[in-house]
C-alpha cells in the first residue's frame, strides 16, 4: 500500500486484451464498472422481484429512486422528455453506484477517471444534438438565438450561447470527475497523516487524533458528495434534454 494519494487512481491490467494493436485490456477500472453494473442492476432486480403491492423497505428504495428520477425529468424536460427516462435513470444509478462503491476502502472509483465522465457527458450531449436535429431539423439551432435580443447584440449573444453549449460536456464531466478525485485525495491525505503521525510515539498518536476526526468527518461528507454529484449529473442531463425537446423555449 503506497502512501501516494494518487495511487488509488492507477489503472492496472488484470487480463491483457489487444485488438488490432489497441489495448483493450480488462483492468481494475473495467472490473469495477462490471461491479457497478452488477451491484446496481442486482439491487434493483432482486428488490423488485416480489412485485409487492405493499413494498418492502428495499423495494421502496428502488421505487423511490424510480419516482425521484421520473419527477426530476418531468419537471426538467416536461412529459415529452419522458422518453429519455431509461437513459437518465441508467446514468443516475450507474454514477451513484460507482461513487458509492468507490467509498469502500481499496475499491477503485470508476467516476474518478476523466475519460469515463467525459464519455458519459459526450453521450448526454450527443443524445441532445442527435435528437434535437432529428426532431426539429434546423429549428434546433434556435437554441442559440434567444428571444428578445436586440439585433446589434445578436452575433455576440449567439457566439456566447454556442460557446456555453460546447463547454457543457467539459463542465459536466469535469464536475463529477474533479469532485470524486479531490474527495478521495483529501481522504487519503488525512488518513495518511494519521498513519505517519502515529509512527512518532505517544505524542504523535495524540496528534493523530485531529486528522482522524477529519478523516471520519470527510468520509461522511464524501458520501454526501457521492450522492450529490450523481444528482447534479442527472439534473443537468434533464436540463440539456429539455433543450433537445423544446429548443428556443428559454
Amino acid at each position: 500500500m503506497s502512501n501516494d494519494p494518487t495511487h488509488q487512481f492507477l489503472v492496472n491490467k488484470i487480463v491483457s486484451i489487444d485488438i488490432g494493436g489497441i489495448d483493450f485490456s480488462f483492468t481494475n477500472a473495467s472490473l469495477f464498472m462490471v461491479a457497478t453494473v452488477g451491484a446496481a442492476a442486482g439491487f434493483l432486480y432482486l428488490t423488485t422481484s416480489q412485485r409487492g403491492l405493499i413494498p418492502t423497505r428495499m423495494q421502496s428504495v428502488s421505487e423511490m429512486s424510480y419516482e425521484f428520477i421520473a419527477s426530476m425529468l418531468r419537471e426538467g424536460a416536461g412529459s415529452q422528455g419522458m422518453k429519455f427516462f431509461p437513459m437518465v435513470f441508467s446514468l443516475f444509478m450507474f454514477i451513484l453506484t460507482a461513487n458509492l462503491l468507490g467509498m469502500v476502502p481499496y475499491f477503485f472509483t470508476v467516476t474518478s477517471q476523466i475519460i469515463v465522465t467525459f464519455a458519459l457527458a459526450v453521450f448526454v450531449i450527443g443524445t441532445v444534438i442527435l435528437y434535437g436535429f432529428y426532431k426539429h431539423g434546423f429549428g434546433f439551432l434556435k437554441l442559440f438565438v434567444p428571444h428578445g435580443v436586440p439585433g446589434a447584440l445578436l452575433p455576440l449573444v449567439v457566439a456566447i450561447e454556442i460557446i456555453s453549449f460546447l463547454s457543457r460536456p467539459i463542465s459536466l464531466s469535469v464536475r463529477l470527475f474533479a469532485n470524486m478525485l479531490a474527495g478521495h485525495i483529501t481522504l487519503k491525505v488525512f488518513a495518511g497523516f494519521v498513519a505517519s503521525l502515529s509512527a512518532f510515539g505517544a505524542l504523535g498518536i495524540g496528534g493523530a487524533i485531529l486528522p482522524l476526526i477529519m478523516t471520519v468527518a470527510l468520509t461522511g461528507l464524501e458520501f454526501l458528495v457521492a450522492f450529490l454529484q450523481a444528482y447534479v449529473f442527472a439534473v443537468l442531463t434533464c436540463m440539456y434534454l429539455n433543450d433537445a425537446v423544446h429548443p428556443g423555449s428559454h
Partner: protein, 204 residues
C-alpha cells in the same frame, strides 16, 4: 483550464508513457507507480491516456448492458408495480365512495321509514283516542238514557201506586163511615147515600 492543460500534458507524454509501459512489461510495480505518480515527472494517473481505449470500451460494454437491463427489465417492472398500486388505490377509492353512497342511501331510506312509521303511529294513536272517546260518550249516553227510562218507569209506578192508594182511601172511608153511622144511629145507610155524602164533603 486545469483540464485542458492536463490534457496537453497527457498527450505530450503519451508517447514516452507508452514506451515506458512497454519496457516495464505491462506490469505496474509499486515503485513504477510511485515514480509515475510523482509530481512533474510522470503523468497524473487519471490523465494517463494509456488505458483510455480500454476504459472507453469497457464503459461502453458495461453501461450499454446496464442501459439495456434498465430499459428492458427494471423500468418496465417498477413501472408496472407503481401502475398496479396506483390502479388498486383508485379502485379502492371508487369502491369506498360507492359503499359510502350505498350507506348514505340506506341511512336516507331508514330515516324516511322512521318518519313514516312515526306518522303512522301518531295517526293510530289519534284514531284510537277518538274511538275510545266516542265509545265512552256513547256508553255514557246509553247509561244516562237507560237511567232516565228507569226513573220515568219508577215515577210512573209511584204515581200509579199513589192513585191506587188514594182510591183505596175513598173505599176505606166509605166503609168506615157506614160502620160509624151504623154504630151511632143504629140505622142502615145505603151505600149510595154514603157515597153522595162523601162526594159532598170531598167537594167542600
Amino acid at each position: 483550464m486545469f483540464v485542458t492543460a492536463a490534457y496537453a500534458q497527457s498527450t505530450t507524454t503519451e508517447g514516452a508513457e507508452a514506451h515506458d509501459a512497454a519496457a516495464a512489461g505491462e506490469v505496474h510495480t509499486e515503485t513504477g507507480v510511485a515514480h509515475e505518480g510523482e509530481h512533474g515527472s510522470g503523468v497524473f494517473p487519471p490523465f494517463d491516456s494509456t488505458h483510455f481505449a480500454s476504459q472507453l470500451l469497457w464503459l461502453a460494454i458495461t453501461f450499454g448492458l446496464f442501459y439495456l437491463l434498465m430499459s428492458k427489465v427494471i423500468i418496465p417492472r417498477i413501472g408496472s408495480i407503481l401502475e398496479t398500486r396506483h390502479d388498486r388505490i383508485a379502485q379502492d377509492l371508487d369502491e369506498a365512495s360507492r359503499l359510502k353512497g350505498e350507506a348514505d342511501a340506506a341511512i336516507a331510506a331508514y330515516e324516511q321509514e322512521l318518519a313514516g312509521a312515526r306518522a303512522k303511529g301518531h295517526s293510530i294513536a289519534d284514531t284510537a283516542r277518538e274511538a275510545a272517546k266516542s265509545k265512552a260518550k256513547a256508553d255514557r249516553d246509553g247509561v244516562e238514557a237507560d237511567l232516565a227510562k228507569k226513573i220515568a218507569a219508577a215515577e210512573a209506578r209511584i204515581g200509579d201506586i199513589k192513585s191506587k192508594a188514594l182510591a183505596d182511601v175513598g173505599a176505606i172511608a166509605e166503609e168506615t163511615a157506614t160502620a160509624i153511622v151504623k154504630q151511632l144511629i143504629g140505622g142502615t145507610v145505603t151505600k149510595s147515600e154514603i157515597a153522595a155524602a162523601f162526594k159532598a164533603s170531598a167537594g167542600n
